[in-house]
Amino acid sequence: MDYIFYLAIFKVLMLCDILFTPGYGENLDIPLKHPDTSSDLSTWSPNEHGAHPDPDKSRLPIFSVNYPRIQIPFEITLWVLLASFAKIGFHVYHKITVWVPESCLLISIGLIVGGIMHSVHEEPPAVLTSNVFFLYMLPSIVFDSGYFMPTRPFFENFGTVLWFAVVGTLWNSIGIGISLYAICQIEVFGVQDINLQENLLYASIISAVEPVAVLTVFEDISIHEQLYIVVFGECLFNDAVTVVLYNLFNHVAELRVVEAGDVFLGIASFFVVGLGGLLFGLLFGFVASFTTRFTGKVKEIEPLIIFLYSYLSYLIAELFAISSIMAIVTCALTMKYYVEENVSQRSCTTIRHVIKMVGSVSETLIFFFLGVVTITTEHEWNWAYILFSILFALLWRGLGILVLTQIINPFRTIPFNYKDQFGLAYGGLRGAVSFALAFTLPDSIGPKKLFITGTIVIIIFTVFIQGITIRPLLKLMNVRKTNRNLETINVEIHKRVGFTVDIIYVSILNYGLILTFFSNAGLKIIIIILNYNNCLVFQLMEHTVAGIEDLCGQWSHYYWKDKFMKFNNQIIRKILIRDNRPESSIVALYKKLELQNAMEILDSMSGDISSPPSPISSHASKSKKILASDVKNMHELLSKNMYKSRQRTMSHTNKHSLPNDVTAKEILIRRHTSLRRSLRAESFHGPKTSQKFFSLPTGQSLNSRLTPGRFASAGDDDAESEMDYASIRSTFRHPQRSMIPLRRPGNLKKVHSSVNVVDEENEKQRIYRSSRSGSSFTGSAHQITHQPHSFSGNISNKGHGSDSKEQKSFSPPNALKHEPQNNSDVQYPLLRRPQ
């Protein structure tokens, strides 16, 4: 009893300790020594231990606590957990995050925690030491952005991005720095002691722009792709430039006396540092890709290779004091393309998840600490200096965008108009990187406290005021959007999928359309409606333009792209990619899709129809072997059954959400029922029924490629169940078309002749339901697989569960009674929440 009580007390104490321990960050740096943990323990122990004295120390301890041993990892874990809880909390009600950026909420939570800590007079946790930030947090944040950078639009706007990132940041830093220096000369404000170098240092800190909040807003109001990518890229490379400048000015600020030669050395080092980072990044990117070429047999460490190499590039760049951000970003950009082709699908998903996870945790933590630190540190407040720094930050940002756009516009095919420029300027929020840079300033900088205060104020100002107002403002100004009309999309979706969606982001890829929307359950779902024609015509157009450019000796984007692709296909891919076939993107896409579909379908089938030993399931059991050879046949089937245009989950467009497995599941179900149906239909009815859509040359059948063996054999055995299947289909029609006289399921002939119509109709109906149920399920993917109570589940159970049962339950009268019930079940999927 005593022990339990003691344990409980101890737990509470530990929690307090975790929340209030000063200096665990310092411990991180010197993990072997814990000078202040013991003292820390002793500070709280006397009064608590006095109340509950230790039983007997001389005996053999039955129970002992060795807290100092686990303190550091333990505290880190709890902090991360706390931050994650905060994040989870916001997304319970997604409507909050729609209107208030997540970073605002995180800062607010941090402020509250800071307030609590302050009220009990505790020291702030010195978590963010320079080493922790630069060695662990920054690389993960930057790697995240670099890896998820949409490559094609990025390279299409490469020049503009670099222009804004490099020149824009220089402009901001120097402009703000000099104007603040001018302010410092005015005696009234009492800040004459800040010299030019320190002002420049401060300016470089507050010119680091932060993308997360803005990009979320941009996505949500489906802003034009070019604006999006420019902000994204600018933020990314801007970090690199800022850190370079920061280090430079940090060094210079300590010199105290600056000579002209130092300035030139500084400029030279700027280029060395930047380009060096680029080279290292490229090198490591290629080495990483090359390594993954050989990891085919050891798939379990594939993701690790990626992380190790990218981190290595960062560390080595740090070692040589060149831009480590540049290195890791370039590394990510370079290897992504090749690595994702080499590694398996699962590794790919793992890589993405881990990168996303680590990145967002780091960011969350920084914002969180920003809140805490705001309350708990001692601030040095100078009205004039801080207000002027806000003013100059806004002013120079606006001016910079205005001037730089005027310069870059003549070089752009699509110039930025004034609204775009406003979007760019107003989107310049300051964030995590600025704060961390300010916080990790060396103590030798005199006005460090003032700088921290100023940075925090600017961050809070921009994140709260700009972050909250940017959405309504951009909406009000009607900034350029993607040229797809939302209304028509919604109508289209309604027509095809059957439910109206609240689409919040639509972006047109070259091969289709991405829809981002919240499902009924409130989860963000991203769907690509793949459009082959768009892709094809786009490619045709690209080649044509490249060709015409060749014709007139014009070198521009398409020209370089063409040349790069050639070089890439001929040399780089041969070295880096395991089974290299130079493929144009559409083929790669096509294959990836088909393979994935086929695998999904085979997987699910082998799981579902284990009871009736049909040839299909026996095939499926050795599915992997068959796949390679059968993909071609599968895609034929799939292309007919992938209702209308294709859909698949999207993996990377969204900066802050990962591919949604739930969506994948939903689509999977939709497909696999339809496929299974058609597979059987196919095997039974043979090639005749299939292609009625094309104006085929006589004597040429599209289905000639369908190897008869597999499906024919399936057909023989399945003939009986196939009949039932047809009958199921015909019964499914009835609820919808009550006008049509009921067809007896036994009437095979008739069913055959009309099977395609039936299929069409059922497909619609089924899609409607499965998508509805799917969307209602989004809370739990497992439910879909384990408790198929939806329509798709019905199909799979009845269609494949057991033939005899099926026959009974679908004898005509029963079937008709059953159907409406099932419908009503599915009709209101929201009523049954996932358990």
Partner: protein
């Protein structure tokens, strides 16, 4: 704007003709011969998978904006410019109708590249041919896949533009209207552009 662009084009063409093997005395009297001799001499085009389509496009009367059909054996500078003008970037301040007009023109050009027999529809055969050409640099497996892709694409058009069909119904081919409808999402007017940079045209075009 137009004038500048055309001047640039003129300059480009001039540059090109000078650097390649055929000669022109003056801009307007130069002719390019159909058998591609002139075009074939262009080294850079050789790696382009749709080289022949591009060259064809220059000799296609439909692209001359004169409501004619068929193909010609040789083109003059006028025609050359007309074809090139499909690749003009739209100016900044245009109305919605103008944008649509430009879009139509550009898509029409692409459509004509598909529709080789001038009958106003892209049939499956034609589509397959184009896709095959597009993928012709993709190695041996290109052909089968090309067929699959073309079929899937065709099916897509059929299902989007016509909707569910009765059995026995035949989708004849993609008409231009369907083509437009299908490519709604493709911002062709912002993409199918060539920027004619280094435009010190007044000096070079004299």
């Amino acid at each position: 704007m137009t004038i500048i662009t055309e001047l640039c084009l003129r300059r480009q063409a001039f540059h090109w003709s000078r650097s390649e093997s055929f000669t022109i005395v003056s801009n307007s009297s130069a002719k390019m011969k159909k058998p591609y001799d002139d075009f074939k001499t262009i080294q850079d085009l050789e790696s382009n998978p749709i080289r022949s389509q591009i060259i064809e496009a220059f000799f296609d009367r439909r692209n001359f904006q004169k409501d004619e059909v068929g193909s010609v054996d040789e083109i003059g500078f006028e025609e050359f410019l007309t074809v090139m003008s499909y690749f003009r970037a739209p100016s900044h301040h245009i109305t919605e109708e103008q944008r649509e007009e430009i879009r139509r023109a550009k898509l029409r050009f692409l459509f004509n590249m598909h529709d080789t027999d001038n009958d106003g529809t892209i049939t499956l055969d034609e589509y397959r041919h184009v896709v095959e050409e597009l993928l012709s640099r993709s190695g041996a497996l290109g052909r089968e896949t090309a067929k699959g892709i073309a079929d899937a694409a065709m099916l897509e058009v059929a299902s989007i533009s016509v909707g569910p069909m009765a059995p026995g119904e035949v989708y004849e081919g993609i008409t231009f209207e369907h083509f437009l409808k299908i490519l709604q999402g493709l911002e062709i007017e912002t993409r199918m552009n060539i920027r004619f940079l280094n435009m010190d045209t007044t000096v070079l075009c004299k």
